[in-house]
């Protein structure tokens, strides 16, 4: 079935983004029209994407719905991930608005680049051909490099952008190299074809193919690990988070993780699924290292953006721990982890962005001191996010940890699960420290925090979501399991 309409969310998004780009040239810097147009674009794309959930379910037996000569397809995983990416992007734009206005950062560009990045993520999620994966990834990455550099008068932002660009380009190169080797070994770029060619191999030409494919697999994993920020390919993460404007760091740390998860599934499971014995080991090591290094180094940070960067690294470790099992259960566990992680981090960064007012960046941990007395809403949302990231029940982060732990234990990776829980205790320390600063300490800066009504409503919904999804985790869990059944 070749039906271009299945790509309607992406088609709409790209068209509307081009329109926003042009309109942005003719509007004054003060008007909020670009912001509202961008939000409307995301909302419509979300509705389009959400409406496909039903279509996908009705043809579940037939597998994917494909288009563009098999370069693009949708399935249960892609539709639900795309809906989440769009929702989170809406939240990112909402929290960023006043921050960008305050700082006079080239505003329409932020939204346009953000929309392009979202389009890139959606393409990554829906790609079923290696070239399409790469196309989506580059669209995302190039937009992000530019977003980091948006604050062009800031030296650190420029430095961060340069680092990000160089390392990101290197990673893309690795990934592309790996893909080319896999192409050389199998003669196909189509992930499903590669999968069927590699399955059942053991003798004759198929054995040759799988040795070549294994060689390529290593490079692909390096590329993915770079993009995810897994140890030992994590060096760029803290520098970029620290140097980038907070609103951009928020963007980078949330939705792209969902897209990176999807890319991982597409390449390793849909394409190289029969080599799982090889990539399981590699991912297990990456997962353990990420959890250990991320949590331990985060303790030493005084800059909250760097702390959250190392926290991201440790969560990438947990996410990989889910996939290590290489079963449908483990993929859905990781999917749940990716979604809830992005959602919770959105709340945490949202508070930081809102707190960064009038040229004062809330970047040091002490900026949060006494927040509980200055603004209860912000402090409560931040507290919920921190407790959830620490993995304490009954918040949603606990169920994410529970699901990946369960997946790892069921796949006989008990040692990895033990590393994970041990590290989550260490992680709890630096999350608790944030709560301690906000609620137990006296404020250093006693200025009142003013927040726009819609932003505080958004934060309240975000914080409430962390609780509600914690009490009723099956709200998303069902979709995650359906994606891989």
């Amino acid at each position: 079935m070749d039906n271009m309409l299945i790509a309607s969310p992406e088609i709409f998004l790209l068209t509307a983004t081009c329109a926003v780009l042009v309109i942005g040239l003719f509007t004054s810097a003060k008007s909020q029209i670009i912001y509202w147009l961008s939000q409307a674009t995301l909302l419509v794309a979300f509705l389009l994407s959400f409406s496909q959930v039903g279509d996908v379910q009705s043809v579940r037996e037939g597998g994917q719905l494909t288009a563009f000569s098999g370069a693009y397809g949708i399935d249960a995983m892609s539709t639900s991930l795309k809906s989440w990416i769009l929702l989170i992007a809406i939240g990112v734009f909402l929290y960023s608005r006043d921050y960008l206005t305050d700082r006079r950062i080239a505003r329409s560009e932020y939204y346009v680049l953000g929309l392009f990045a979202v389009a890139g993520m959606m393409i990554m999620v829906s790609a079923i051909n290696m070239l399409t994966v790469y196309l989506g990834l580059e669209l995302l990455a190039l937009s992000q490099y530019a977003m980091v550099a948006l604050y062009r008068d800031d030296k650190r932002a420029a430095e961060a952008a340069m680092k990000y660009f160089v390392l990101g380009a290197l990673a893309s190169g690795m990934l592309l190299y790996g893909m080319s080797i896999v192409y050389g070994a199998t003669g196909s770029l189509d992930l499903a074809t590669i999968h069927s060619l590699l399955t059942g191999g053991g003798v004759g030409p198929q054995a040759m193919q799988s040795i070549g494919a294994r060689f390529g697999l290593t490079f692909i994993i390096v590329g993915i690990a770079f993009k995810l920020g897994a140890v030992p390919f994590h060096m760029w993460v803290p520098d970029v988070y620290e140097g980038a404007p907070t609103s951009v760091a928020m963007f980078i740390s949330t939705a792209p993780k969902i897209a990176a998860f999807a890319m991982l599934i597409r390449l390793l499971v849909d394409g190289l699924g029969s080599l799982n014995a090889d990539w399981q080991q590699m991912l297990a090591i990456l997962a353990a290292l990420s959890m250990i290094v991320g949590n331990l180094v985060a303790i030493a940070q005084t800059n909250i953006k760097r702390m959250l960067a190392y926290s991201t690294i440790s969560h990438v470790g947990f996410l990989l721990m889910g996939i290590v099992g290489a079963t449908a259960e483990s993929y859905s566990a990781s999917m749940f982890y990716a979604i809830t992680y992005a959602f919770t981090t959105l709340a945490a960064f949202g508070v930081l962005v809102v707190l960064s007012r009038d040229g004062h960046e809330a970047v040091m941990l002490d900026d949060l001191a006494g927040l509980g007395r200055r603004n209860v809403l912000l402090a409560t949302v931040m507290m919920l996010a921190m407790i959830s990231l620490a993995g304490v029940p009954p918040l949603v982060g606990f169920y994410a940890k529970l699901s990946v732990l369960k997946a790892a234990i069921n796949a006989d990776y008990l040692w990895l699960a033990l590393v994970g829980v041990g590290m989550s205790v260490i992680g709890a320390f630096y999350y608790l420290r944030v709560i301690k600063l906000m609620f137990f300490d006296d404020p250093v800066d006693s200025n009142e925090v003013h927040i726009a009504g819609d932003v505080s409503a958004g934060l309240a919904v975000n914080g409430l979501g962390v609780i509600v999804l914690g009490v009723f985790p099956s709200l998303i869990m069902g979709a995650c399991i359906a994606a891989f059944s």
Binding site: F398, N410, F429, I435, F439, F440, S474
Partner: protein
Amino acid sequence: MSDSSFPILSLAIWIPIVAGFIIIALGDRRARPLAAATSALTLLVSLPLYFAFERGTAAVQFAENKAWLPDFGINYTLGIDGISMPLILLTTLINVVVVISAWQVIKDRPAMYLGAFQIMTGLMVGVFSALDAILFYVFFEATLIPMFLIIGIWGGPNRVYATIKFFLYTFLGSVFMLVALIYMGRLGGSFSVLGMHTLELGREQQMWIFMAFLLAFAVKIPMWPVHTWLPDAHVEAPTAGSAVLAAIMLKMGGYGFLRFSLPITPDASSRMDTFMIAISLVAIVYIGFVALAQRDMKKLIAYSSISHMGFVTLGIFIAFRLIAKGDDAGVALGLEGAIIQMVSHGFISAAMFLCVGVMYDRVHSREISSYGGVVNTMPIFAAFMVFFALANAGLPGTSGFVGEFMVILASFKTNFWIAFLAALTLILGAAYTLWMVKRVIFGPVANDNVAALTDIGRREFWMLAILALFVLLVGLWPNFIGGVMHASVENLVQHISIPKY
């Protein structure tokens, strides 16, 4: 397991939790009456658990079962037996006392304070009634959050250190239990606690699972040598926080041993019993001496709690020696002694902390040396304090005597020296408690602060009187709680006397 028509347990869990959030949302002005109403309502709701309880059976009662996370096989399963029911009532009762104690004392953000205690009460009832392992874990861990905030926001000068230590210690203990629970869920295909009781587990598996449970529950109860968080947390916590911590949160550890360690890993528990008895005795004797050396009243009571919890673990783990001798009555004696000791300690330790709180509110010092001759200015209070101190020392006729006596009696049936060391507590407990009372209550008026003291008012009187009533009730009529647990304890004894492999 039959589902009850009326979800009493759910109500006892969710009324205080929901009300707690409402109290926080409505703000400080209406906090006190709302909290009082909530705690009274929760207590009322939980009363049928005692009066409608069927005593002759060990079956799960008031059961509720709903699918919660069907994809994971996790259910919202509640139910109680004779072991958990007294603890639930203890929780709802202490909650009422807590609200009374905080009525005037807490000036800073009272809505948050009272709300947090209501939420915690609901969560603790959940711990004692959850019969799904993951649900249990959720409640077990969730109680950390309100307690973390209570100590951190309203605690003493060193509160940050104490509360983070408290959180991390207990968190570290319990995460490995989570791994063990998931592992057993995988083996048995279900997270039902009762299902895990009958799960076939080999020697190695039992040892690892036992260790995971031990880490969780030994930290919680707490056993020597992982007890060090407790004195810090107790000392820094506000009065009501100390009372709840000592009266109920510690009991989660003892309850965990009875509900998880013993029935799920009976053979590992049996193999480890010498070790467990040994560290229980260390807690009883060594910590007793440590308590003797304290100059801070709250610290003294905290160490006395650890020492008393040593009796709980001793009563539990002495069981296997008696089983080896075929003395089932003795096993039941030890286990029931442990449970009665938990309940009794709930009343007495809460009362002791509230007594210290009464003095602290007036003088703002917890040092024993700041007092002396309190009886001259606060005669009614002094009567209460002496009464609770005697109960803490195990005076016959008070609840403190019953549990200790039963456990010592059970110990005598196995080994004289175990019983001898355990019985040392009767001397040590009397020594550290009464010596404190002597220095604080009796003697001439020590300084101007004491001379200026005013005796307790109506609120404080009733708060202490309620607890005194129950201390006497259990002391004079132990069957008041002993009666409800016989069937469940006998069932447990039957279960653990049969090896799993």
